[in-house]
């Protein structure tokens, strides 16, 4: 078969979409994953995927989706990519539908949609409460078909260790390790796409993410020169189950479908929740944010719960927990629309969420930041230029990134159900960009000299050998637990510069310790500790980037909350027309002036670059060409 050779690393939604496009374009794809594709974290997504179909009689519009996404993200996202993503969303849903995805239906047999956070329209398509798994079935089957036709060559149980660059610094392949035989081998390619997912494991075990969402692959690309953007912008999901091994997510769909968050009005009230009368319950989200109520954006809900429990000491039983209540809703309705999460709660908490309220608390969930990627603005449409080879290109030539490991669409806070969308859409756009990139390549990677590949294999092999031989006494599992505890306590929902400085010092210490690990096993076959130890080292390095970026941003924006720099909203709610110029209220006028001055200073993308002395943090302007940011976020 003619065509060029491309490597896609990652078999979640992003990677599978990129694979479909590139193999569909006539090129050979080697698809790498740590395990079978269907075990990727994407299968965990529950609530749904956003697309404006306007089939609920609510006059929804693509413009509104763009505005909600930009504003929900604290205006920090580059706007042309967001515009194009929102415009493409309905078409993506239709394509998923053709693949056989079992989207939930209305009585007329049309696609049903539900409400999610940070918006007022029902815009979220869903497949019960297992949407991610269903979307994955769709693309996984399509990729399997290409595999059966010999157009995709899967490398499951292989882990990317590093990139290989040619003499000009262009990425021309990867070095990966067979997780069974531990063989370290180089693979050549004319383009490499990373779709390696999120990094919630930096907060272990207080995270909703799978154990494979380590960010290690992105960290490796960063250490080899790819820039990392907005690392400090990390989302804490407000409603995760309490758990010592993992804090399992209870989807935002629970609130979208009518679930209510509350605590007893009397913090010393120890009655069973069902025995507490309505009048003695404090629905604090509804009280503080009457306009959006329980479906405020996630950063706001998480901080509100944090405030209730940590500042006001008003959590249930005085602890870190509040109620998420579905018991007032129609059983059959909830069962069909949220069945998958109900069963998770029943299985893991041992109680029925339809019988008594669930107990929840915020947990680490989603990285808005990620590998910096480019785009080409299309003046004709105001969106991104279709097929431009610049779209989703990282700062390393030849290397592309898509899915949660890039930073492109969510600014400072992601709206619920927007990331299955961005993972799919970015996979498709990255795939199209790669097709254009390949058209410009003169000499295929197969013709390159062997030296850089052999050198990189030797370098990676020596890291393995050293780890296998090391008897330094540090245990990788304990180091990871220490990292998680540190990040959760010092780089969490609420941030403070003194704490961040302390965190940086602790991370430096962890990095030192991680250089002296003892794997406690030296088996040459399927040695899981070896792979894990390497991931832990790279997670610690990524944590440093995240913390340094958080230290650098002295303001509050979206999920990044430093109370010392907060601009409190005026007590009165702005008239809905309140914008920069048109507000008579002097308190608002003063606020708007400060808000805009703050934007002048801080409405910028944080960009981290690797140096031997640690991350160098810089800022670059945000493309605001679609909608001038003139509305502060006020969800009251």
């Amino acid at each position: 078969m003619s065509g060029r050779q491309v490597i896609v690393v990652g078999g979640g939604l992003g990677g599978l979409w990129a694979t479909l496009v590139i193999a569909g374009g006539g090129h050979r794809v080697m698809l790498f994953s740590l395990f079978e594709m269907m075990r990727s974290h994407s299968v965990c997504a529950q609530g749904g995927i956003n697309a404006v179909l306007d089939m609920q009689g609510q006059h929804d519009s693509v413009e509104q989706h763009i505005l909600d996404t930009l504003k929900g993200g604290g205006w920090l996202a580059n706007q042309p990519p967001v515009k194009s993503m929102c415009e493409s969303a309905p078409g993506l849903i239709r394509t998923f539908e053709r693949m056989g995805v079992t989207f939930s239906r209305t009585p007329e047999g049309l696609l049903d949609q539900r409400l999610f956070g940070g918006v007022k329209k029902k815009r979220t398509c869903f497949a019960g409460a297992s949407t991610g798994q269903q979307l994955m079935h769709g693309v996984d089957q399509q990729v399997r078909r290409l595999e059966a036709e010999g157009r995709v060559d899967k490398h499951e149980w292989w882990e990317l260790l590093s990139l290989v660059k040619d003499a000009d610094g262009v990425c021309r392949g990867i070095v990966a390790m067979d997780l069974r035989s531990l063989e370290v081998r180089a693979f050549r390619a004319d383009a490499v796409v990373l779709a390696t997912g999120g990094l919630g494991q930096l907060y272990t075990p207080q995270t909703t993410c799978s154990t494979n969402s380590t960010g290690a692959a992105a960290s490796r690309a960063y250490q080899q020169g790819a820039r990392f953007a907005n690392a400090e912008l990390f989302q804490f999901h407000p409603t995760a189950m309490i758990g010592e091994d993992k804090t399992r997510l209870m989807s935002e769909a629970a609130r979208g479908e009518g679930g209510r968050v509350w605590v007893p009005k009397d913090p010393t009230d120890r009655r069973e929740p069902n025995r507490i009368p309505e009048a003695e319950r404090w629905h604090f989200l509804e009280e503080w944010y009457p306009a959006y109520g329980n479906t405020v954006p996630r950063d706001i809900a998480s901080r509100a719960i944090w405030k209730i429990c940590r500042e006001l000491g008003h959590g249930v039983g005085g602890g870190d927990r509040v109620y998420l209540d579905l018991t007032h809703l129609d059983r059959a309705f909830v069962e069909t629309r949220l069945g998958a999460i109900l069963s998770i709660y029943r299985k893991f908490a041992g109680t029925d969420p339809l019988g008594a309220p669930m107990e929840i608390f915020p947990a680490a969930h989603y990285a808005m930041g990620g590998l910096w990627v480019d785009f080409e603005h299309d003046p004709a449409t105001g969106g991104v230029k279709p097929d431009s080879p610049r779209n989703h290109a990282t700062s390393l030539p030849g290397l592309y990134a898509c899915g949660e490991c890039d930073y492109a669409y969510h600014g400072a806070n992601r709206l619920g159900a927007n990331s299955l969308l961005s993972a799919s859409y970015s996979g498709r756009v990255a795939g199209e960009a790669v097709l254009s990139h390949l058209a410009g390549i003169e000499r295929g990677a197969e013709a390159l000299a062997d030296a850089p590949f052999a050198a990189e294999v030797a370098r990676q092999q020596s890291i393995n050998d050293e780890l296998m031989a090391n008897r330094g006494g540090e245990n990788p599992y304990r180091l990871h637990a220490a990292l998680g505890a540190l990040m959760t306590s010092r780089v969490g929902v609420v941030r403070d510069n003194a704490e961040l400085d302390a965190a940086l010092a602790e991370i430096a210490e962890l990095e030192q310790r991680a250089a002296h690990m003892d794997l406690t096993e030296s088996t040459p076959w399927a040695n899981q500790t070896l792979a894990y130890a390497r991931q832990v080292q790279d997670m610690i390095r990524l944590a440093r980037v995240m913390t340094a970026s958080a230290r650098a941003r002295d303001e509050c924006r979206g999920a990044h909350y430093k109370p010392a720099f907060e601009l409190p909203l005026p007590a009165s709610k702005a008239a809905s027309s309140a914008t920069a110029g048109g507000n008579a209220d002097p308190a608002w006028e003063a606020y708007m002036a400060r808000w805009q001055a703050n934007n002048e200073r801080w409405l910028k993308t944080t960009v981290a670059e690797h140096t031997p002395d640690g991350p160098r943090i810089d800022f670059e302007p945000v493309d605001l060409s679609v909608l001038a940011p003139d509305q502060p976020r006020d969800y009251r």
Binding site: F35, R94, A526
Partner: protein, 294 residues
């Protein structure tokens, strides 16, 4: 005296009986330990195997547990401190897991002789001694890790996909599907490729002597469920005949011995025998069509 393993868990002394928590090492007194004081210790008996062709052997571990623990969480804890009940330091036990919420299918294994996901096997529902073995029928990679390539090979054999013109948008509105049909179809889309139904199926051939991605022998219930699902889809229907022919061939539907184990063990409660029944009718019709050449 036996030593007890577990990451950052208090070392327990004594016999580790169900209420062995009273033996919690008094030297550690953090807040978290107060909670652990209500916990107990369990004995894990694990069937280990160092490599695919190595001989299996058993090891026992005693481990302190915490409330809410499941088999995956204790295996994770054990990794940091793999010391057997006889006090011997050994290699960590290899096993698979990702989601820890029963949706990725990775963690399936035999627990006290039954195939099930380990992450949703809560310790409070298990005894003081828990026996763990790799999922049967599949080749062992190492310890509790198996190679389930055959499961995915079956999806290829049965052509479990819709044939799209391409990944692009064709601007056509999604086909209408009644809520009733959706509800019936959705059940099959919950399959998480865990392989538990195959492990339990007496007709699904054992791995011994077969390649990991073997494409002969009974395709097994999981793939049949997907054929049922795709045959019902408005576009998937176009290739129904091909899929039916695939399951009318050797190793197809007629290999099902109707033991009905699959439907009993599937953790996602997928009505696999209903699917097999429906496909039986579909293949009968297909055979008639084939006979008359329509």
């Amino acid at each position: 005296m036996t030593s007890i393993a577990g990451a950052d868990r208090p070392a327990l002394r004594g016999d580790g009986s169900a209420d062995g928590a009273r033996d919690t090492d008094p030297s550690s007194g953090s807040a978290a330990d107060t909670q652990r004081a209500h916990s107990r210790s369990v004995e894990l008996q694990i069937r280990r195997q160092d490599a695919p062709d190595a001989a299996p052997y058993w090891q026992r571990f005693r481990i302190a547990t915490r409330p809410g623990d499941n088999v995956v969480s204790v295996l994770r804890a054990l990794r940091a401190d793999p010391i057997t009940a006889d006090g011997e330091r050994v290699d960590p036990v290899a096993f698979e897991h990702n989601c820890m919420e029963e949706v990725c299918g990775a963690c399936a294994m035999l627990i006290d002789g039954s195939p099930r996901p380990a992450c949703s096997a809560l310790l409070k529902d298990l005894g003081a001694v828990i026996r763990l073995e790799p999922l049967p029928k599949f080749p062992v990679v190492r310890d509790l890790m198996v190679d389930r390539a055959r499961l995915f090979a079956a999806l290829k054999r049965t052509r479990a996909w819709v044939r799209l013109d391409g990944h692009w948008d064709n601007h056509e509105r999604a086909p209408r599907i009644s809520q009733r049909q959706w509800a019936a179809d959705y059940l099959y889309s919950r399959c998480m490729s865990c392989g538990i139904c195959l492990a339990a199926c007496p007709q699904f051939p054992d791995a011994a002597g077969r390649p990991a991605d073997d494409s002969a022998g009974f395709v097994g219930p999981a793939a049949l469920g997907q054929v049922r699902l795709l045959n019902a889809h408005p576009l998937g229907r176009y290739d129904k005949a091909e899929r039916l022919h695939a399951i009318m061939a050797d190793g197809g539907l007629t290999d099902c011995g109707n033991a009905q184990n699959c439907v009993r063990v599937c953790p996602k409660e997928i009505p696999l025998t209903t699917a097999i029944g429906e496909l039986g009718r579909q293949t009968t019709v297909q055979a008639v069509k084939d006979f008359f050449g329509v």
